[in-house]
Symmetry: C3
Subunit: 679 residues, 3 copies
């Protein structure tokens, strides 16, 4: 048995756990359940994030007896606990006494509250009640060595990503005052001379609720910023309450929904806890792409765990997705490991027989008998155990940096036509998957040499610092792909007072001032020298070289745009800059990788079947390739050099086939990665 | 002329009537209209259900002069009256004085009220006003022999099947207190430990209005139960007011919408009055299935009338369905008679030129001249008159009992995914129609020997008494078809603490613990011995025999389920039990009937054209077969033994053809049914 | 340079202008912008309609210094100004102080107001504030000769075409009192005996908000009439304030949305100002039809201007339509001229970099450098300048009168099934375009000899005066096409108390009493003598001749309707009357024109390519044909007699081709039109 320090000092091994809610079951059952966990190799469980009433059955009347009992029983069975603060599921007494803690809808009426997460984070009573329960928990358990880590709240903004009502309006006015200081600054920033809406003081600021005419997108973007700041402040407040008692306590939050400034959030947490439910991908073909969700967080996570790993089946009151067939649990778990997770906790131990998640399956079924999901989980842990330390010493191989600051993220969120016509900031993921590439999402200013390509899906809202960072990256040998909207919007979402791409022109050597949406069918591009052509969506910028050494490598082939430049290329320092005037959707990005011979990392193992993938971790002199087939159809993997099968120890030299929902982990020595391990 | 006693003692004849609203027309026109009715053979009319303002033009100021005049004029023309209580259309003065009688929407705001049925049935003022007008009417007319029967309110829950607002919430809290007595019982029943929503007292119970996250389905089901109880209490209150004056008065309600516990409602009424509008079937092909709507009520109706039988055309402000072509009126009326109605009242006498039902056609057009609908109606009555007593002495031949208690009905209503993936409790009607079968809907505990097959479309929410009744039915020689969800939900909609099918296992001899929705296309089943296969929808339970004598008769042929059991069969007592792991949709049910050689009743007449059907009534030594062609295409009817055409008296021995929208009633002597008539 | 008098006395020339918002840009830029305008031939700009805060930065604190400065600068550059009243964009201070000026939604909650036009026109504070600012502006500038004309408000009912809330309800009650005087009259008009909703006083009238059951369509129609009266009263109040200072001031309103009684509005204005944005047509193929929008207003406009002519690109926060390709600006402008506009003002001068219309392009881009749109505009003006007087002396050639009074317009708006099944009052526009026909919309009572055909798309809601006017039109040699619903609804939307077509029978010589929607596929008609057939939608009236000389020229070929009459024809005086029982959609109308040999005007120039058209203006001895190709594909124009190309002076005798988005104006002498010019 190992304790918290070992886990949280240097993570020396892969660890496995589960989400377990002992308060949902008779106390007599606990020991039986915990023994089953131990038998399977589980080492910890997450708990308490939904049990506020348990610890505070009436206002200010705290009762930790059951928490004590659970911790004691866990400890007796050698299980650590990840303890959640219970602030997303508020007791009935609190709603009864403080009805205004319930969030309001756009029309000003309160949500019904017989569910979870419908709270007004600007409400003083809600914040005060949260503070107290967190402080009480922290004082009692923050120094408790049986507690491996703390989860603050749960899945921020899940279900509800907007707040309304007078209290929220006042909070938004305060936020605007802090951001703009003077009314005139806000009038400028939001363009309020237009339609005569200038404010004279911040009390005249309104929320961006439904208006008969269109919304102001600057206001919409600021409202998103406000929500992000509100959420981060709320979560960091809980973190601080725990750290105030024990600065060494490890604090995580899991799977925040949008809008949230992810880099800012993760820089303030010790651990990022992901929720990984491949069932939501809608089918095996979508699962490798869904794995790229890890790239949303990985670059900024000090430590990457998955605190909700899909066990069997997913469902809530109004939907029920198919159960996980045999093999599915293993392949899904290895996908998390392949993406860099070093602790996996399945959700959940046992299906609950009632309430909103009756359909959400656990490792055990409703009736509590270990069955095929439990067996498969046990088998997987046993297979990985001999390599748990070696794998934990490696990190994922990621060659593509997808550039997306929070300001850039807001572009498509504030201007709906951009999402419709150009796509969101995650366009082109399918192309990366088909190329066997993994990606991290990051701010341009965090670019470094670990990446080969910087992909800028929306080249809007770039600061001068961003442009300098991209320039330095190209200078140093990287490939920069500047996508659409370069110079067409600044970080405040204003259109420019100089012809686009403005300050980016020094990097791209181009003009892209003329731009248009395209409605009559899809655009088509053709390559300039050969003739390979590609469909290019519904947005076109005419790319014209304005500097020496810039060449057009693709032109439009559609309508009045025919013959005009669509993609340019230039050498830049030790690297290259490509400027693309169309959306970086899958076909365009795949085509670009071929036509422009963009870099690929070392890939000794490849697969081209939909729903199959290879993930690679490296470091400490090792390289592990996770060959996964999520789908029903057999998948053939090409082997380009000799690899060792981790499970059997056998050498593999030629192609092999994985049947439906099966996997292999392949190992090779990698002396080049020795340095990394010690850094 | 015959009076009320004759009608309501033993119904000796078919009767015909109409819905007539004399208060909508000049008094000078009444005699002309009533004479036209008599000329056509009509014997009564329904009236007053929408005329509250007429009898109470101001609060408490009753004026029955026009009612008296109408009754007198009707009596003079030998017409009886079915008198409606006017509580679904409330006067403007009532809304003005008691605005809270208007029901509220989910957001808490009141509905606009320039229409009908938007009342809050929990509101004390509304109930008091209703009580008074009903008592006034009853005191004046409940003993009046010109009144054949009373209709209480009209089409309960039509248009509005949910109530919201603070008053409703308090009523729901009271209802919960009555059901659960202790908060802890409700906490258990609703699983409120999950997401920490336990109540400490019933004042903390909320309505299941829109929440950001999913609803609690136990709460949703209880809210439906509450609405059903509220409606039944309201209707029975009116019944009691009438019976208090005259215990012999016959009371009906017509066509309640959902949610309502139909057996409970019908057990408290003297007559069930159906509304039969085949135009809503959307085309002739759907009409035979729509006829099965009679099966929703027939088993529990002491007497079956149709008080709104489609006359010509159906429409309201925002829609207008096609008019009834020649023949349509007759075929539709005979469908009602074939399904067991002994009194038919067409809706309505004459189209009203204004307001919400301007488009709803009558027997006469807006301009009041008798035309083709009036002529067709007269001709039909004349043709049936000689047989009106003989037909009224028979009952419909129904061999299938569709098992659906109110608890079972709530399963798909509370858990939306069940409706989506498995269907509602009326799945498979199309298969029954194609087999020439008629069905009643009933509680398992009301099963008896009149049925050959007990079909359980959702085998969830079965009580031990239900299981005993099904067991006895099979024991006695019946065929029990157990559909999906056996043992997966109890009556409280909890998932089980024993492996499914739980207590049903003694009947089925199977396990169906592993179950899953299916998203990638439709499932396919194949028959175990031969190979006939069938599409089977989006829900699969793996059926495994666990008892002697149980055999698998179909297996899955799709994906990872391939080869696993889907349907089992066993002999049981004098009967059989079939356990089906997939939805009992049309293709599966048709396939089952063939593959398992399920019983069919005696069918001397058959038709296989879409939109055509045969309905049979028997008793008193007679058997009447109603051959109906609802559609445009000619339909050929097979005749398997000698039958007599009722209209011509000629013997029929071979097949015959019915042209578009035409019919024949065929008679045969049936000594075996003599007993039934005297029972 | 010419002044206001010259413009508004007799318009002797075509004029060009622009929408320019100097208050959005630094004052230092004004002179540069205005000089660019003059260089291009622009003569005026529209301004101030969105700048209330500019002139009244706080309540009652007026500041006209910037207005003065703009007018002075404009005058210095020889530019006139069309001055807008700023009442559609209300200052933040007004909303803060008088929150009830914000309109409410159907649920009673207020709209958010960070946008434009969300005002409650029944609110006293809003009206008072509007009155004051308009009076202040009028007093200062109504006699100012630099002001060419006044625009009152902007695009009435755009974005928001319904009002709710208690204040609105009271205003609606007052309006009903004025219309009906006695409650009983309203009870009759709305048919309130039905469902027992009779009012005892007007305070019981409600708004037609969402009810659980269907709405009363008479109430809905009256609510539309109320909104129309409210809007016209509001706009005429502003007009009167201006005229009170200077009765000679020219007042326009631009592009009101629905519901508004257009003839009544236009009869009270000096100028009608259209907004012409062909981008909303969704593609070139729809642009000729969109041009027919001019026909909505032309018949009643004393003078026809376009005050918002599309410059480059159209877009708001949530959408962005494609930019105007080269040539598009010219073709679109010539379409406005071809339809009769004598003053064109492009919208807008320069794209604004922020707020809701960041995506709405101007003649200059966001960064202010003249580019291809500016160049194309300058070139177009230069080409037309030599002919500006001759063209302005002509009027459009329009041969079809589409009969649609405001009562008739309300038919499809109040009864949704009519819009669904028969279409709106503008059905069949595509057929007219394909025949090269132009149309005006007018009341039957305004018919005169300038038209060849009177097309009645909905023959409902016709008054006796309307019928007399149609009769006289036919008598005098015109062709009257009576469409569906003849006699089925009166102006109050009641169904008839005599068999349809009622009073129209003397004109049509037919009965159309039997009518039905048609759901099973589309109806088909076939011509009676030859066999050409046509699809005819989802509504059928059986047309039966009842007078001498009426012949059936088409019969139904579908279902039970087969063989029954669908279209009749008769000679009538010097003209003809055609009665059509089906919707006058494009296929039926095209077929009718051919089968019945309906009249076409003199067309020396024709084109049959989708997206191309010919518009003709004539008068003063001249005839100008505007040959326009809006589309991408080349279009061949047939030339049936010799015409002169206006740009080159060359004679054209044979067919010619216009490439994508190009145009020719062709001239011919037309002595027959001399009279018209002097009238």
């Amino acid at each position: 048995m190992h304790g918290k320090d070992e886990i949280l000092g240097i993570d020396k091994r892969l660890h496995f756990g589960v989400c377990y809610y002992p308060d949902h079951w008779p106390q007599e059952r606990w020991a039986y359940d915990m023994q089953l966990m131990r038998d399977a190799g589980l080492e910890c469980f997450r708990w308490l994030e939904g049990s506020w009433t348990l610890v505070e059955p009436e206002e200010g009347g705290f009762d930790f007896s059951l928490v004590d009992a659970v911790l004691e029983c866990a400890d007796r069975h050698g299980l650590g606990v990840i303890l959640g603060t219970p602030t997303y599921a508020v007791p009935a007494w609190a709603v009864e006494r403080y009805p205004d803690i319930v969030a309001r809808r756009r029309d000003g009426s309160a949500w019904y509250h017989g569910s979870r997460r419908c709270w007004d984070y600007t409400n003083g009573d809600y914040r005060r009640l949260c503070d107290r329960v967190v402080v009480e928990l922290a004082q009692r358990y923050a120094k408790d060595s049986r507690v491996w880590a703390w989860q603050v709240d749960n899945e921020m903004w899940c279900h509800l990503d907007e707040l309304w009502g007078e209290g929220v309006e006042r909070a938004f006015q305060d936020w605007c005052r802090q951001r703009y200081h003077q009314p005139e600054a806000l009038n400028q920033a939001w363009g309020l001379a237009f339609w005569s809406r200038q404010i004279a003081h911040f009390g005249q600021v309104t929320l961006p609720g439904p208006t008969p005419a269109h919304l102001n997108h600057h206001q919409v973007a600021d409202y998103q910023r406000f929500l992000s700041d509100l959420a981060i402040g709320f979560l960091f407040g809980q973190r601080d309450a725990i750290k105030a008692v024990n600065p060494q306590a490890a604090v995580l939050h899991n799977c925040p929904f949008e809008p949230i400034d992810r880099p800012r959030l993760l820089e303030g947490l010790d651990i990022y806890g992901h929720d990984h439910y491949p069932a939501f991908a809608g089918g095996a073909a979508g699962r490798p792409q869904m794995g790229l969700n890890y790239g949303r967080f990985r670059r900024y996570a000090k430590r990457l765990w998955v605190v909700e790993q899909q066990a069997s089946q997913v469902g809530q009151t109004s939907y029920r997705l198919p159960t996980a067939p045999p093999g599915d649990l293993s392949v899904s778990a290895l996908q998390s490991i392949g993406h860099g997770c070093d602790l996996l906790a399945w959700f959940r131990w046992r299906s609950y027989p009632a309430a909103q998640e009756t359909n959400w399956g656990g490792l055990l079924p409703h009736w509590g008998e270990p069955g095929r999901h439990y067996q498969e989980m046990s088998q997987l842990i046993a297979t990985l155990r001999p390599h748990a330390e070696a794998i934990a010493a490696t990190v994922p191989q990621v060659s593509v940096a997808r550039i997306c600051s929070f300001d850039q993220y807001l572009v498509h969120r504030a201007e709906g036509w951009i999402a419709d016509r150009i796509g969101g900031p995650e366009v082109g993921r399918g192309a990366l998957i088909s190329l066997g590439l993994n990606e991290d999402q990051l701010r341009a200013t965090d670019l470094d040499g670990r990446y080969q390509v910087a992909l800028v899906p929306h080249a809007a809202a770039l600061s001068l610092a961003d442009i300098r960072a991209l320039t330095a990256f190209a200078q140093a040998g990287g490939v920069v792909i500047i996508g659409p909207l370069a110079g067409h919007r600044d970080a405040q979402l204003h259109a420019p007072d100089q012809a686009p791409p403005g300050d980016l022109a020094a990097l791209t050597g181009t003009s892209n001032a003329e731009a248009t949406t395209w409605d009559e069918g899809e655009l088509s591009l053709h390559e300039i020298n050969g003739g390979s052509s590609v469909s290019a969506g519904h947005w076109a910028e005419i790319i014209q070289p304005v500097s020496e050494g810039v060449s057009i490598c693709a032109r439009y082939a559609t309508g009045w745009l025919a013959g005009r430049g669509a993609v340019s290329q230039r050498s830049f320092g030790a690297g290259r800059v490509i400027h693309v005037g169309v959306a970086l959707a899958d076909p365009v990005l795949s085509w670009l990788w071929t036509e422009c011979a963009l870099p690929l990392p070392d890939q000794p193992l490849r697969v081209f079947t939909l729903g199959a993938e290879v993930l690679t971790r490296f470091g400490g002199g090792h390289r592990y390739h996770f060959a996964l087939n999520h789908g029903e159809a057999p998948a053939v993997f090409e082997v380009r050099r000799m690899l060792t099968d981790l499970a059997t120890g056998k050498l593999l030299t030629g192609p092999f086939t994985l049947e439906a929902r099966s996997w292999r982990v392949l190992h090779e020595a990698d002396p080049s990665s020795q340095a990394l391990a010690s850094s």
